[in-house]
Symmetry: C2
């Protein structure tokens, strides 16, 4: 069975990578930018290249979607680099191709707030996809970078689905019918996303769950089944939004960046500002197999479970990471001489 | 008579500064950023400090509004540094104070496109002032930096007027009733701007004029009178939008920055993309006195003409450049020992 996670943001260590590998996780979309500008993003890419060398026995970068199959064969965790904001572009359209060449495969058009491309889910009003945003969508379509609207507002999301010539993703969010958080998605969004061939990664972040940390595996699993009812079995996966090994200062920065003098509490509040406790049945990458057990208990067939756990993301990423006019080099083509000599992300893109 | 211009963007030379001084221009708000990020803006400030030394016989930086009086006494052109976009802040609220300290006194919240703060006048939809925008308005109010909505969309402009505790400016635009360009302003905006104590700088850029370069001095002067009818005599000045000594590549960059693959033609079009020809009666700073002649012919009194030509901007800038809790040092206080030793803009702010 493939296990592919639509989003994580952790302070990675050998121990965390080992947990993921030992649990059979084949690929994780990892966030490498929230507010970082171009230069800071380059530094983060450099830091990941260092990790690809240091932990080459545990992880490998994903360039083409099919690299996930290689990662599975090699018993490593494939790492998909992505941004939760468009800040790495600054105001430069040409940075889309540059960052794709450097390994980035997924980018949100906005993160909570208004961006230069689209409106975030916490803004007062939603003006949809901007002039610059339309250009960026075209360019992301061309080079093979997935448009992610997880933290975007409703109209912006619907417009992105319509404007994009390729299916888009909401890598980490739940349906509003399950839990009406601002970050969760309306029936309309779910419908349009599925109709256009897109993917929803269901989240295990407590603020996205009905009942928070008290949400049971059974409740979560039944929500997965309900979402499949709405969207069809081919458009649903997991996007755990697992955040590990960070202190509160990182959460404060994620929420408030440098855009406000007074802290923003995001999905929490002043009395409840810290990282939320995870449900007892999902605390780390070790717990992915538990979800498969839950889905089975909720009545899903093996074929359905395999799609949810990873096959849907695999199919989607295989189709999405290639350029519109060709295809993306696999990691084996980039470095065909040795399986052990995993190349770094730089230059792996096209 | 004071002559103060609400906006110019030129490739300045000794000759151009001399023309302005010889015509009796006492202060000009000069644009030093359209798309520049923080680092590029610092370089532009540095370049202006070089000019303040090199052309110290002709120009001087304006820190407090009252410095304009000093400039007049010294027979120099006061230079007010400003941005036509919020790009110099990047996503950092703290940059407002930093850039004010370095000499910036006016900033547009958006330039044509959606920004992180507000919507531009060429966007499809207008979502008003963003979460970050509200923070920035508060901070600009606090330090004494004028909010300029010349290139912003209608709702964003009305919200900025409402949110700002201090009067704002539209430094360079005309009323839509005169010429219905996207860059010109509705009766509603004119009314709210005047009611809140704000200022409108009337533009001499041909795309803002009825008839373009064929607009006559008489037509322009009557438009000034009509605008005064709408807004009152104390809320109208000039904001020529004079752009001198640039080739087309600069105009292309102003319009398209790095946000689009295909050139945007702004107020022009593909057949008419270049810098527009100026009206025969306003081609350079030499022609400011001509406008006073036109206003007299249109029936304005001397007192009214003096307000339009400069006194309104003088009063507005004197009130606007001080911090909310104190006042801004004048250039004489910054460097009290010598009138000739004009200090550079760095450190002149607070």
């Amino acid at each position: 069975m493939y296990i592919i996670d639509g989003l994580q943001y952790s302070n990675w260590t050998r121990e965390l990578f080992t947990e993921a590998r030992d649990a059979g996780v084949n690929a994780i979309h990892v966030t490498i930018a929230y507010w970082e500008d171009s230069e800071e993003t380059l530094a983060n890419i450099g830091h990941w290249n260092k990790r690809f060398r240091e932990f080459a026995d545990l992880i490998m970068p994903i360039s083409a979607g099919t690299d996930i199959k290689t990662a599975k064969e090699l018993g490593r965790v494939g790492i998909i680099l992505g941004f939760q904001n468009c800040s790495p572009l600054e105001d430069d359209l040409h940075m889309v191709e540059t960052l794709h060449t450097l390994g980035a495969r997924i980018m949100q058009l906005s993160y909570n707030n208004q961006s230069l491309l689209a409106t975030g889910c916490y803004e007062h009003k939603d003006s949809g996809v901007t002039r610059f945003g339309r250009e960026v969508i075209r360019e992301m379509n061309r080079v093979g970078m997935v448009i992610d609207m997880s933290h975007s507002a409703e109209e912006s999301t619907l417009e992105a689905i319509e404007l994009s010539e390729r299916p888009i993703a909401i890598t980490h969010a739940n349906p509003s019918f399950f839990h009406p958080a601002k970050r969760n998605k309306s029936d309309t969004v779910l419908h349009e996303l599925a109709q256009s061939g897109g993917m929803l990664g269901l989240s295990l972040y407590p603020h996205h769950l009905a009942g928070g940390a008290n949400c049971t595996l059974d409740e979560f699993s039944r929500m997965v089944c309900d979402t499949v009812e709405h969207m069809g079995i081919d458009h649903v996966g997991l996007g755990s939004d697992l955040c590990q090994n960070w202190d509160y200062s990182v959460l404060e920065w994620m929420r408030s960046g440098t855009w406000t003098m007074t802290p923003d509490f995001g999905e929490g509040d002043a009395q409840n500002r810290d990282w939320p406790e995870q449900p007892s049945w999902f605390r780390s990458n070790r717990d992915f197999p538990t979800i498969a057990v839950g889905l089975k208990a909720a009545g899903m067939t093996e074929t359905e479970i395999e799609k949810i756990m990873g096959l849907n993301w695999l199919r989607f990423f295989e189709a999405s990471f290639s350029s519109q006019n060709g295809r993306t080099q696999t990691m084996q083509e980039v470095s065909p001489t040795s399986n052990d000599n995993v190349p770094n992300a730089i230059g792996a893109g096209r």
